[in-house]
Symmetry: C2
Subunit: 283 residues, 2 copies
């Protein structure tokens, strides 16, 4: 299997679905629709939705049932990037080579576009699952798990750590705890959602959680390695232990991630390739 081809095909499906959900219908301010679309369609890799789909497919889940949740997670990821870039947070001028949302639309509209994307994610997930052949109990579980992974006990909690903690006061495990909250939880819950919606056992869900947490922290370290040398705010393992040690640590985490899914045998080949894809990236 060519993982790049797999990735590209799934990206196409996600793009199409996101366009369908975000096509402006005239029922709300156009400037808000523009700001939402500007950030959602800005060349994101769609890693989280693809992980959700890959997890579901490996245990025989139905792609159509997964898509609203896959899109929901991508909208949540996008809102978090808009808010992270704000002047009072990381104060980033560019993201993926384009001016950040607040530079294009102003700070107020950027904040509100993020807020709207977060609400829209829950709207799409709850609405679609009431319209499709999805067990509503499972849908509710996925919704609250995604809400938890996004909020104070997940991504937002990690972001608070990122902006309020002093790097000099942290050791490696505290840095990784922040990475776990800020980055890994949303990745992990994407995988869990794919499993839960496809009828996985609790043991299988625990297993994919181990894979996701290790992959997620490795992903954040790789992100920091790619940016090594650039001026970058926030907690950063590369600054703490150096490029070589950070790379070794990411490789160790990926090995642990692969170890977790060994029980699934060749069914987990896509997840294996995706993990190697994360560690190999240079962009």
């Amino acid at each position: 299997m060519d993982i790049y081809e797999y990735f590209r095909k799934k990206q196409e499906i996600i793009e199409r679905e996101l366009r369908r959900y975000l096509t402006w219908n005239g029922r709300f301010p156009e400037i808000l629709a523009e700001a939402m679309s500007y950030s959602v369609f800005s060349g994101g890799k769609r890693l989280r939705p693809i992980l959700m789909i890959a997890a579901a497919e490996m245990i025989g889940g139905d792609l159509e049932d997964i898509l609203p949740f896959a899109c929901g997670v991508e909208l949540i990821h996008t809102y978090s990037l808009i808010h992270d870039d704000l002047p009072s947070m990381d104060d980033d001028q560019f993201r993926r080579g384009r001016p950040t949302s607040h530079r294009v639309f102003g700070e107020a509209v950027a904040i509100l576009a993020g807020d709207a994307l977060l609400s829209e994610a829950f709207y799409i997930m709850a609405k679609s699952s009431s319209e499709r052949n999805i067990d509503p109990i499972k849908a509710l579980r996925v919704i609250y798990e995604i809400a938890e992974a996004s909020g104070s006990r997940g991504m937002v909690g990690g972001q608070i750590g990122d902006i309020t903690m002093k790097a000099s006061e942290l050791d490696q495990s505290s840095v990784e705890a922040i990475h776990l909250d800020k980055t890994a939880r949303l990745i992990t819950v994407s995988l869990r959602a794919g499993f839960i919606l496809s009828g996985a056992t609790e043991y299988e869900i625990d297993t994919i959680t181990r894979y996701g947490n290790n992959l997620g922290v490795a992903f954040q370290i790789m992100d920091d390695l790619v940016d090594a040398g650039k001026e970058k705010k926030g907690i950063n393992l590369v600054h703490l232990i150096g490029v070589e040690e950070a790379r070794k640590r990411a490789e160790r985490l990926i090995a642990d991630a692969l170890d977790a899914i060994s029980v699934f045998g060749e069914k987990a080949d896509v997840l294996r390739e995706l993990a190697r894809f994360v560690i190999a990236r240079r962009d």
Copy 2:
């Protein structure tokens, strides 16, 4: 029935539940917990949760089943106040006599506290309904209706109108359309949630929607009347048509709200009193 006594008793129940949900468990940054609680426990009237409970009770709903949704809507209302007060939005220094969140915790933490409250609302609603004797299909419907009323096609859309439109370019019906989105939708969806969760018919749900939309716009006009004379940003009917006409318009809307619920007879007495309570307020 003494409506003040009714209001006070329901407020107590809401306060207790909110405290239970927001008690810090050590599993996320303390500063975030502090910022969330600072705004949630700042003397809010709890109008939206009380309307939800009153709606449910009038058609025989179970208070315990309603509470997680009542709290969820209050958290969403609170997040919207934190973000509305931000320097890039209304730039408010005080709310309910206390310094606004961003003045106490800084802009970054204030934005993140709002974000966390929005996620927490969906967490509480989805989690609790999976744990209680609530029809999961109804729970999903209420969740997506609340998400819709909070986002681009509701509250956030209205806030965008409020900050991007020029008052001088608007006529009365455009101003009221913004009030409808910004203020009334969350009030209406609170009432709808109480009805949906308690097994109301679609006709009854439509009826309560008419009550809610009229009440909500009247509520916003009363808010602007209370603040008349103060420097206040944003779209404002009082500035457009004057104090006397604005008061008449609010009274007209309340009359329409009362007319909508006349079909419910004396069962709707609480909602009737609540509507009069809104129009009578001076604070």
